[in-house]
């Protein structure tokens, strides 16, 4: 699975960037509709849960994100290959 940031919820606090042990996130540079610089999932393939299904591990990002902005989505076939 891969983490996805919902741009309608993210407030650009960058806690995900700080907390991810695998450095999957990077700070954003584009301003969102809500006026924030959303973080970016730059390296989903580095995540502990990359290509994992069923019970996920780590999840520090999802649990820590104060805005419920990160959720898990299945990888595309292409992404799976990374």
């Amino acid at each position: 699975m891969k983490p996805v940031i919902n741009p309608k919820l993210c407030k650009g606090c960058n806690i995900c960037v700080y907390i991810c042990p695998k450095k999957c996130y990077t700070k954003g540079t584009d301003i969102s509709e809500m006026g924030y610089f959303n973080a970016v999932v730059s390296f989903p393939e580095k995540c502990y849960n990359h290509n994992r299904e069923g019970k996920l591990i780590c999840e520090l990002c999802v649990l820590s994100c104060p805005d419920q902005a990160i959720s898990w989505h299945p990888e595309t076939e292409e992404e799976k290959k990374k």
Partner: protein, 269 residues
């Protein structure tokens, strides 16, 4: 249950500032509630007044958003009138420990069956950053422009001394441990307190050189000591200074009879 079945999606984005720990606490609580296998229909959420006390307004169940400091007193009446309900209180350091201090200690003593989640951000967030009873010594706030001269309370230790059945403290930097303690608290019979030391970047961090929420999380990480490993306070000197160390862990887990059992109220539940 999906997180947005548990929470009221139509109230999102919530009112909390970017990087506020309240949202983190909500994630963990949702998981714990789910894991404990509780049902929303049978659970009522009570809050006082403050940023932290607004969490109940976001949950997809009955919510009693009360007056400042009195959440435990309201919850006591609610629970005893309808003992079949699960009652969960969300509160803050100011709400629970300052204006609500008396209801807090008496709640622990009376040991009515309820789960209390106290989001302790060491500040009055809602009103713009005044010192609270947990603001560390010498830290800055709008009402302590020369540094806070008072020494803070240790809410978890007070709860233990006053008689609560379950007491744990974690920071928002320990999301997994926090989730686990929340689950234990939800499953405990009697008064159960989980204190979460949490970041208020807007009103605490900004005035104390930690404007970035991640700086606060890093501060939590480097000052956290497990309670069993904490340098034990000398008998003659209570170290009430949170700045030195944030003791975390389970403080107590016991089974004193809860008030409902003592007065036999459950019969009419």
């Amino acid at each position: 249950m999906d997180i947005f079945e548990f929470y009221r999606k139509d109230r999102w984005p919530h009112v909390f500032c970017p990087g506020c720990g309240n949202g983190t606490v909500m994630n963990c609580f949702f998981r714990a509630f789910n894991e404990a296998g509780l049902s929303l229909d049978n659970t009522v959420f009570v809050g006082g007044i403050g940023c932290s006390s607004r969490v109940p307004l976001y949950i997809n169940s009955d919510a009693l958003h009360t007056t400042h400091g009195r959440a435990i007193a309201f919850a006591t009446g609610l629970k005893l009138a309808k003992p079949g309900l699960k009652v969960v209180v969300f509160t803050g350091d100011g709400d629970l420990g300052a204006i609500g201090g008396n209801h807090f200690i008496n709640g622990c003593r009376r040991n009515v069956d309820m789960t209390v989640i106290c989001i302790n951000n060491n500040i009055y967030g809602m009103t713009g950053g005044q010192a609270s009873i947990t603001t560390p010594h010498d830290f800055q706030s709008t009402t302590t422009p020369y540094g806070n001269k008072e020494y803070p309370f240790d809410l978890a230790e007070i709860a233990v001394a006053a008689g609560a059945n379950y007491v744990a403290r974690w920071t928002t930097r320990q999301v997994h441990e926090l989730t686990k303690s929340m689950k234990s608290a939800l499953q405990k019979r009697g008064f159960a307190l989980v204190e979460v030391v949490s970041q208020c970047p807007t009103n605490f961090g900004r005035r104390n050189k930690m404007a970035d929420p991640s700086q606060m999380l890093e501060w939590f990480k480097s000052n956290t000591v497990r309670r069993d490993k904490a340098k034990s306070a000398e008998l003659d000197h209570v170290d009430l200074n949170l700045a030195g160390q944030i003791t975390v862990g389970e403080f107590v887990d016991r089974n004193r009879e809860c008030y409902e059992e003592l007065i036999g109220v459950e019969k009419h539940g």
